[in-house]
Subunit: 238 residues, 2 copies
């Protein structure tokens, strides 16, 4: 109970409760592919690593299981869940539906202060170096969250958090072939249409933007077949 510093350098605050912190640490490590699919997550091992007892680790596992990030098989072991192709497609569909309605609302309104904010964010996105995909993803997250907030649905964004986690795992594994500049162009198009109050075009733009992951997903399944749950091919969602 001395260290409280994991092998990856994450330090736990002794004052706050342990299990929520562990949850965040492990969640981040899984999403960033620091703990790849099918990694074994031993309760006592992690407990020793972070200098705590098994119970907080176990409680973190429970939450991660509810988020679909780990799979605990009783009396057998706990493992990082493989990526469920169908779940990613379903989650992407949900995101597209929700964000399409959000953008429609915003385009009807055409709030100029919002447009200004989004434009400044896009400028920052362009300054992100090519080899720092993690930073771009944080910016991207902020962009989409700003959209939800402006429409008055910040809690709706929270609902999408679990869905986004699954998609982000995919993006972190294949970020080499991640068309950052293309994504930024799409962001610009969305903002332009919002400013022009061009509702159908804005909706089409956000939908196209969120379909982008469909391009990398099949290729990723070829490159890393072991990372996926069900390999029965699901050509597309229509």
């Amino acid at each position: 109970m001395l260290s409280l510093v994991g092998i990856d350098g994450w330090a736990l605050d002794q004052l706050k409760a342990v299990s929520p912190q562990l949850r965040l640490v492990l969640r981040s490590r899984i999403i960033r592919n620091d703990l790849p699919p099918m990694s074994r997550l031993s309760e006592p091992e992690l407990a020793k690593e972070y200098g705590v007892s098994r119970q907080p680790v176990r409680e973190a596992f429970i939450t991660l299981m509810n988020e679909g990030l780990v799979e605990v098989r009783p009396q057998r072991g706990t493992y990082v869940k493989r990526i469920d192709y169908e779940a990613v497609l379903n989650g992407r569909f949900v995101r597209e539906a929700v964000e399409a309605d959000i953008v429609r609302k915003l385009a009807k309104r055409g709030d100029s202060a919002l447009v200004k904010d989004l434009r400044s964010q896009i400028a920052q996105q362009k300054n992100v170096p090519e080899d720092a995909p993690e930073e771009f993803m944080a910016q991207d997250e902020r962009f989409h969250q700003t959209l939800a907030n402006a429409a008055g649905f910040c809690k709706a964004w929270d609902y999408l958090g679990g869905i986004k986690a699954q998609m982000d795992r995919v993006r972190f594994i294949t970020f080499e072939e991640f068309p950052i500049s293309k994504l930024i162009e799409q962001h610009e198009a969305i903002v332009d249409f919002i400013e022009q109050k061009a509702v159908p075009q804005a909706e089409a733009a956000i939908r196209a933007h969120l379909r982008e992951i469909l391009n990398s997903l099949p290729r990723m399944q070829e490159l890393y077949p072991n990372y996926f749950e069900n390999l029965r091919d699901i050509p597309n969602e229509d």
Copy 2:
């Protein structure tokens, strides 16, 4: 460890793990308003009631907290969460967006087998006695789940589960003034438009259907103000 039968008659299967079962039992009791908002949930008390130790109860609490159904305040106590007006509105918005896209897909297709299935479900809905709202809600759940399934997004429906829980709490409290026949008519309209492949009309019908709760929500806030989290009035979501 003899009884394993709660005060409400729910029996726990000794063979399966305890905490997931407890989770389901408590979840159901909360949604059905058997455990109203702000009820105190004592760890040792529930443990004694169901004849298990405190740990499984605690683990059930963690999941319920993640679902937004209970609120655990450290060293203070665990309570059934009050209904968050804004969260319900946000959840409703998400559901509308997703189900609108689902129905659009189905209307484009116009699957006659699906239409037949839905019609038979509607016939069953009409047979539900007026004083059995719980049974109607089960039928309603099945109806909407069938839509999601037919569109190939059964996992998307799972994502909406947590959202639906919050909405169902509202419906269970105010089911007296629950316009069952009106809801059935709306179901019929949706199916009709799907059959006719009338895409925009079908979308409008499902959106109107899911807006229905907005009628009962403000009245409910008047009747049961103590059941709500933030009483700052949020007139509507637009």
